[in-house]
Amino acid sequence: MNERTAATKGLFLEALDLPAAEREAFVRARCADDAALAEEVRGLLAAHADSGEFLEAPAYAPARGRAGLAADDEVGPYRLQRVLGEGGMGVVWLARQGAPLVREVALKVIKPGMDTARVVARFEAERQTLALMSHDAIARVYDAGSTADGYPYFAMEFVDGEAITEYAAKRELPLAARVALFREVCAAVRHAHQKGVLHRDLKPSNLLVREVDGAPRVKVIDFGVAKALASDEVGLTQSGTLLGTPEYMSPEQADQAEAAVDTRSDLYSLGVVLFELLTGALPIDVSSREGVGEVRRKLFEQRPRRASDLRASLRGDLEHVLARCLEKEPDERYASVAELDADLARFLAGEPVLAGPRSRRAELARFLRRHRVAVVLTLLVVAALGAALAVSLRQTGRALRAETDLLSLSDQLSLERALERLAAAPWATPADEPELAAVEAELTTLLGRLDAHRARLDAARVGATTDADGGLHFASDAQAWQHRLAARLVRGLEALAGDDPAHSALALVRERRHAAAQSAALTTEAHAAAWAEVRRSLARDQRFDGVDLAPQVGLVPLDLDAESGLWEFWHPQSGAAPDRDDDERWIVDEDTGLVFVLLPPGAFDMGARRPVQGDAPGDANVDPDAEDFEGPVHRVELTAPFFLSKYELTQGQWLRLEHANPSQYQYGVDARIPHDLRHPVENVTKAACAAALTRLGLSLPTEAQWEYAARAGSGLAYGCDWQPLCLEGRENLMDASILRTNLRAMVPGLPLRWDDGYPMHAPVGRFAPNPFGLHDVLGNVAEWVLEAPITYAGSTLEPATGLRTGELGTSGEIARGGAFLSPLITARVTSRNTTPAGSFAGITGVRPARAVRE
């Protein structure tokens, strides 16, 4: 290092140790005779202050910032226009939605570091609650999804306004006007609280003011966003920084005490905003740049400023109101935003407010709190003595630890690899058994080393100290890492033990191995006579001309359906055989397995076009609602027969196959209507469906197969007719039944005039079948299809299955058919409903298909 660099570096590092405010004086004093040197050091200090996250994420991770997006890019159904703002969480874009309705939205794209699937899942879980809010001063959050690159985004009502504090400052609003404006915020937050929604990130930039007919109107934005972004360790992002805005955060929220965060946490944040609105300053100086510990310490210990010290006119009532909001203990604050609002109303009316000076009780409570800190400190001293004793042990432990790390790491990798193999392993036929056996053997071996790893975990704890809350503290990051590694592995191995396939991978692999081994014996072998009968029957059926059906491992013939004249089959791996009711229809119960219909090969005209002069209502493939993407109409010939599920996959079937029920509307989750496992599974991504089905030797239907099945020989837009009235009693759609529930707020368009009795999805098979004997194809839930949204023009189809290849017309995925909560036009047989890539929703499920095997 040359002398010059050494001098600069030395001064820079010395200055860095000083409080920010003293650095300039230090530089001036030390570089009095060398202006260039001073300039150099100042430059470095400025760059340091500016460096923030610079280089903090390793190079081999995605770029931070704008998530690779630019104006004109498409994100889901939105086209980006311009950046509205950029904040700690990500970038907000102005975007335009093209379909199903045209509108401008604010699109918030979250920066990397979040687990997108979980963010979206949390938002979906919250969606119903959010939909209950209906208030002029609350901006709607329409949608959440993930960009093509996997970043979560939120689409919200676009509000062209400015932060409440800026608005008030620019117009120099008088005190009473500020309080009156703030009361609008209170009304909105109060409404949300009544509906059970917390905001969790109330701050001026989320309280926008715009003028409507010359009067200022408030909109509160971002409801539901903070909750969706919250990680399991509440309030912390994955990188360990505080989620949210420290300046406006309540102490309990900064403490990540999720249980303690309630409406009074929002009330605290409102108090900070009101303080800033009235005084122009914050009650406590904290900033996002400070560490979590520092923020927490200040929020818990530092006394808020007195509002009257900053602005004398606040002495008395408003000062007491602010102090009451900003109490450290939630119990000492107003009990609700309504109480705060009532006090502000009293102030404006010239009446005395209820929030008086701090009570003696509060003083006592504060004394006890201080006392508690002293108790904790005493405990820490005792713990530190223990740590000193452990130091000598640490020396001997060091050599051992290196080896421990490698063994732990290598078993960790083996475990992860075995779990990955299990996740990908098919279990449909006896041929799948060896791979499952190999995975089982690997897992068993790893489990055999559990005790050894437990011993290593204990060794890794040597030298660690335990604090009063039972948390472990290590002398170095390396030790903490070693401990984490060992602990994670032990946790992972412990999870292997146990007999419940929902929790134990070992139990799961055994279950699947058994199912694979038995798959032929229980189906083709045990039912050889039935399979021979199917073969004879098909030989007589002209629709199956030239088809010689071999017995299909995994399926058991049920019967020839009297109405459709098509054979139906039971799929034992997904559940019990169906019973018949008095009308000879199958009963799909909670434990029933899939029922497949063998559809004949056939040709049809796919797609639709809008009518031109000379067309008459009812002409085939003509539909005034057709979009360009549904055309051109083209002939499709499916040369192979295929199996398609008679019903949508049920929650019971998914639960048995995947040992989980991801559905948004399920028993115990939605108390408004009764649910059980006969309802279709939903809230599943296309990828998850495809993976689960593939392992079972099943698949998603191709888009051509789906439309062929939905049409069942018809050329008309709704199958049964060219207009939708024929669907009454045939499909569960968005009908008047939803108006009877308090979910009507979610209805995105005008519902049908009839009442089908099911505001949400119905148990599968409740409505009439189509001519192929398939139920709920055009209603209940929408259904994923195999291909991406490929433009029909210029595409080619594989003859047997109709599998299409060609250019993508848009990004995302296609779900076909209508649903209980989607606009009627989506229930047309040609409607190609595109959704963002990786998305899932309570209205989209799956209807499994299966190819005929040789």
Binding site: A59, Y60, A63, R64, R66
Partner: protein, 206 residues
């Protein structure tokens, strides 16, 4: 970057890499004693290993998932070393791995720029991961140049950047590799970041 660009890397036979290189221990020890040939040989081994791993992982990852350099480097270490342990060697290994990661990433950024320049109108289907990295790759070459300057002025703090940024090591791990105290590494890191930030800002302004 298009998938085609990765094809040669994807097909690195994985079974070859599961065998530990019997020489590595010896090479690392010789490298530790300052043997330049041994260092070059280690570098070669590590570079090949990381390049193969990075390619294979990139091909296997679903869009939107990110690859952590830390995980990659640790995996390379396990593979090259097999099961046995020689803990001192690990420090030397990480030094080489950090340099290798830097080379791999800078090479990729360069070839991507060449590709864009060469045929700007050709539309290549971008995988999610590539799009996410576009922004980073533009800046990576500039950073590499600035880091080369810093190496001339202050080799130690440049080394910290290499370990932290390219190999994804924590401060504590970097301290172990360099045989320095935690506090020293933290100070070197602060200086290097400020210096680089300033250099890049000035570079952008001029």
């Amino acid at each position: 970057m298009s998938e085609a660009l990765f094809r040669d890397k994807v097909e690195v036979p994985l079974d070859r890499m599961t065998d530990a290189d019997p020489d590595l221990d010896r090479l690392l020890a010789e490298m530790g004693r300052g043997d330049a040939d041994a260092a070059a040989r280690v570098w070669e081994l590590v570079y090949e290993e990381l390049r193969g791993l990075a390619g294979a992982r990139l091909a296997a990852l679903p869009p939107g998932q990110t690859l952590q350099s830390t995980a990659l480097v640790n995996e390379a270490w396990l593979k090259l070393r097999g099961g046995a342990a020689s803990w001192e060697g690990r420090a030397h290994f990480f030094g080489a791995a950090a340099r290798a990661m830097r080379n791999i990433l800078v090479d990729r950024a360069r070839s991507r720029q060449r590709e864009l320049r060469g045929d700007a109108r050709r539309r290549v289907p971008l995988t999610g991961l590539d799009v996410a990295e576009l922004g980073a790759e533009d800046g990576l070459l500039e950073l590499d140049r600035a880091l080369a300057q810093l190496e001339q002025l202050d080799a130690r703090s440049a080394k910290v950047v290499q370990l932290r940024y390219f190999a994804g090591l924590t401060i504590a791990e970097a301290a172990e590799v360099l045989g320095l105290s935690h506090a020293t590494v933290e100070r070197e890191w602060s200086f290097a970041k400020a210096w680089l930030r300033k250099a890049l800002d000035e570079g952008a302004a001029s």
